[in-house]
Symmetry: C2
Subunit: 150 residues, 2 copies
């Protein structure tokens, strides 16, 4: 469809997906920084992401344009309502993936690191399957067939 529109004003599927992943990583990290240190600054994001402040600065321009963050020059960064929502969804998904990976025997450190990449490619259905699997595992291991240990 879009392939034949004369305007071609929107980036194509793959590109969109990729920049959406970046957006999620950023808002997640901004939320975490605000939570743990009180504020999110360009330099902190740059250090955590392993890129220069220039890259962060330019990506923030895009996120501002897309209404996910707000910030004034030389001041710290805030999430909009939309940004907060996205960060919470991302965090939730991230935690499930990490927990799930550990539940199938992936070492904690690796689980955290792999989840970074995997979380962006887990569909609704797969996430549900992960949750169910976690419930099953916990139920079976910790409270066998409803008996409460006392």
């Amino acid at each position: 469809m879009g392939r034949h529109t004369p305007l071609a004003r929107n980036p194509t599927r793959t590109r969109q997906e990729h920049s959406q992943e970046t957006a999620q990583d950023y808002v997640e990290m901004i939320a975490e920084l605000i939570d743990t240190t009180g504020e999110a600054r360009v330099i902190d994001l740059a250090r955590r992401l392993g890129v220069t402040h220039v890259t962060v600065s330019r990506t923030l321009q895009r996120l501002r344009r897309e209404g996910l963050v707000t910030s004034l020059p030389y001041r710290s960064i805030f999430l909009t309502a939309a940004g907060t929502r996205l960060s919470e969804e991302s965090r939730h998904r991230h935690e499930i993936v990490v927990e799930f990976l550990q539940s199938v025997g992936v070492p904690a450190a690796v689980a955290h690191s792999d989840a970074e990449g995997i979380e962006h490619h887990v569909s609704r259905e797969t996430l549900d399957a992960f949750v169910k699997h976690l419930r099953r595992g916990r139920a079976g291991r910790r409270r066998p067939s409803g008996r409460r240990p006392r």
Copy 2:
């Protein structure tokens, strides 16, 4: 380290990773096309990837440069030894991820589709965990504790 070298001739980590994913997708699909239809052509790749032939054409330039494929103008595409190796590794990894997802209850169609993205972010350790999980599952379900049904 690399961040301070004067040359900066190599794309940075994230960029490298991403273009490596693309390379894997391409060689995997080229191998599959050769297997099933006898040859891999630009137009087939374009259709399967949902992009224009121009994008494929340019990506193939890169893969040629990187020594993964060979092709002459207006002729079909071949994998080099390195390309074949990469395609086999990718295929192997892909199959494990698909099987694993299904084993935890993800519907087949979703498993295939999600595996496309997930496979690129599964580390060696996580892949091992998946394999072990599959073995456990199969062993437990099909031949419980060593007894052979007869």
